[in-house]
């Protein structure tokens, strides 16, 4: 009836019969990545656990390839869904190869001896994540990033069509975060694997996922493509952001702006102002900035940090009206900072602003 490989219908999850999140509807095709985001303790892990059948769901059902997981035996399920868990596995005295080879468990015979085919699968999975050279290393001694890659290889060689990862990027530094998500993307595409994961990093979630599910409260707050989810209001609402702000273009966060009448006027543009804005924010000094075009990168950050922005519409020359507004604003400030190193046809008025700023302390910043 549907082309979805993975589907949940009216899924309600929770502990001890007490519902935590209700009516979860997920539909995912092979090769797609779904990311769960939301505040701590919202139920992301609970949902993932229910999908992987660690927890019994309270109502509703989870379907993989059209079959309900309740009707699958442990062994059948293990061939369909593999997991990467946030806790470190025990794996005492095991090499990375041993750990990856445990992914072959559902396929080996009674004594669990690896066949040539199993070995080939282990090798190809390890090569795909770039962990083949770690094969002889003791698992408990590799770095966090290497460990996640090895565990991903383990999940891969389980040959499941679905991989569930609970916060796989925690503890990883940015290099390994990027590597891991890149791997997931490539793997989803090359192997046609459906991936369901939870992430804390909004910027990563935005860039790596095909679908995003916002988990908050008793019902799923939102579900959709990243461009629908990663809007300023959605994210502010999802995390109850009271201080600071989220920028949907970059997926970046800014600290709370300083309140009050602007004391400093920053002349900026083209990215020259961002560092100065943040410096003033850290000092707790409210500031005004201008004259920025609305398509200027400084404008994005200024929206989150500046008390007053004197701006001009994109692609337009700065009008006399806007210039006068800026001049008016400068009169209220005790200092003017100029971050610009040069001027072009579009922002020539900023030079005039700088030259007519008057007797105030003038700082050449940037």
């Amino acid at each position: 009836m549907s082309a979805y490989y993975f589907q949940t219908k009216g899924l309600t999850v929770g502990y001890d019969g007490k519902p935590l999140v209700r009516d979860i509807e997920i539909g995912l095709r092979k090769g797609e990545i779904l990311t769960l985001i939301g505040p701590n303790g919202c139920g992301k892990t609970t949902i993932l656990k229910s999908i992987a059948k660690y927890l019994k769901s309270i109502y509703g059902a989870v379907y993989i390839g059209g079959e309900s997981i309740d009707e699958l035996s442990n062994k059948e399920l293990s061939r369909k869904a593999a997991v990467v868990l946030p806790q470190k596995p025990r794996a005492e005295m095991m090499t990375c190869h041993d750990v990856v080879a445990t992914g072959r468990y559902p396929y080996t015979g009674m004594l669990g001896i690896l066949s040539a085919k199993d070995r080939a699968q282990v090798q190809s999975a390890m090569e795909q994540v770039g962990a083949w050279e770690l094969r002889g290393w003791e698992f408990n001694r590799v770095s966090d990033g290497q460990r996640q890659r090895v565990l991903l290889a383990r999940a891969l060689c389980q040959q499941s069509q679905i991989i569930v990862l609970d916060e796989p990027t925690s503890f990883l530094d940015i290099r390994y975060k990027l590597e891991l998500l890149f791997l997931l993307r490539r793997m989803a595409k090359e192997r046609g694997v459906a991936v369901i994961l939870s992430l804390h990093e909004l910027d990563m979630a935005q860039k790596a996922s095909d679908f995003v599910m916002c988990v908050k409260g008793e019902y799923i707050a939102r579900y959709g493509a990243p461009e629908e989810i990663f809007k300023k209001e959605c994210i502010h609402e999802l995390f109850d952001l009271k201080s600071g702000s989220y920028n949907p273009f970059f997926g970046s966060l800014e600290l709370e702006r300083s309140r009050g009448a602007p004391q400093v006027f920053v002349i900026a543009g083209g990215g020259t102002g961002i560092a100065q804005y943040r410096r003033l924010q850290k000092e707790g000094i409210p500031f005004a900035t201008g004259i920025l075009h609305e398509n200027d990168v400084d404008y994005q950050v200024a929206c989150d940090l500046a008390s007053v922005i004197i701006s001009e519409r994109s692609f337009e020359k700065i009008s006399e009206n806007t210039f006068q507004k800026a001049l008016e604003c400068i009169k209220g400030c005790h200092t003017v900072v100029n971050c610009l190193n040069g001027y072009g046809e579009m922002n020539m008025e900023n030079r005039r602003l700088w030259e007519t700023a008057g007797s105030r302390p003038r700082v050449k910043g940037g």
Partner: protein, 342 residues
Amino acid sequence: MRITAKKSGYSRVFVIAAASLATLLLLVILNISLGSIPVPVEETIKVLLGMDADETYRSILWKIRLPRMTAGILLGGALALAGYLLQTFFNNPIAGPYVLGISSGAKLAVACLLMAALGRHGGVGSAALIFAAFVGALFSMGFVLLVSRRVRRASMLIVAGVMVGYICSAITDFVITFADDSSIVNLHNWSRGSFSGASWEDVRIMAAVVLIASLIIFFMAKPLGAYQMGEEYAQNMGLNIKLFRASLVVLSSVLAACVTAFAGPVSFVGIAAPHLVKAFLKTAKPMIVIPLCFLGGAIFCLACDLMARVVFAPTEVSISSVTAVFGAPVVIAIMLGRRAAP
């Protein structure tokens, strides 16, 4: 580079297995020829091969030393495997039938059965003893399991086990105090742990129990390997966790019970043997570790029994004292090692 490393990995296993077998053989010979009456090696060989030999030697060997030695091998292996299973089950390298109070629980049940049977004519059959020990072992295990549910800390588990052990031992002593004078001596010796007094009949029964249980454990190598990754990963590999955990409990209790029924409580073998075996092998692969654990436990027990009999001859020391002398330092080493590499 890698290929040689792998090769050396396998040859390491081979060398250790061969060395273990040789040591066991040596200990077997020492165990049957040394004692209050030394039996010359050529006589030993004659007796073993069924050739014409001195009658005194023949009866010493057949009636006393050979059954005792065989019991040592079987029960030592059983202890090591029971320890290995418990360590896997609790994910705790110093878990074992003795420290978790399982041996003491079995001891208490057996003491009670013996006391109850004293008034009656004829003794108690070996099967009944094993069964009583099994029930006692399960009770202690049940208590330790309850504690482990409530407290997640590994050290608390051991503390709970040691306490159960003390309680059971105290009650056992209490029970023995009220025994007839004549029966006390035997019961007292047994309750401190000893391989002495094993008959061929006993050996047959313990062989049946221990070998069958060990074989089952060997065929559980695959799930044991999966379980080493942790419960959640094991489940994701398709392992039926409840059934598996239950079988670990039953098998380790059967083995510990069998040892206790025949030899009383024997300390530390269950911790020391698996640890030493893994340290030598440098792997935790159950397929390799299980048989060598059995061998290691047998070697450990034979060596300790030999010392128990010979060092202060003609006085015999309890086996548990000797195993503690050699086993307890291993436990300390494990704990220090864990501290060094968390």
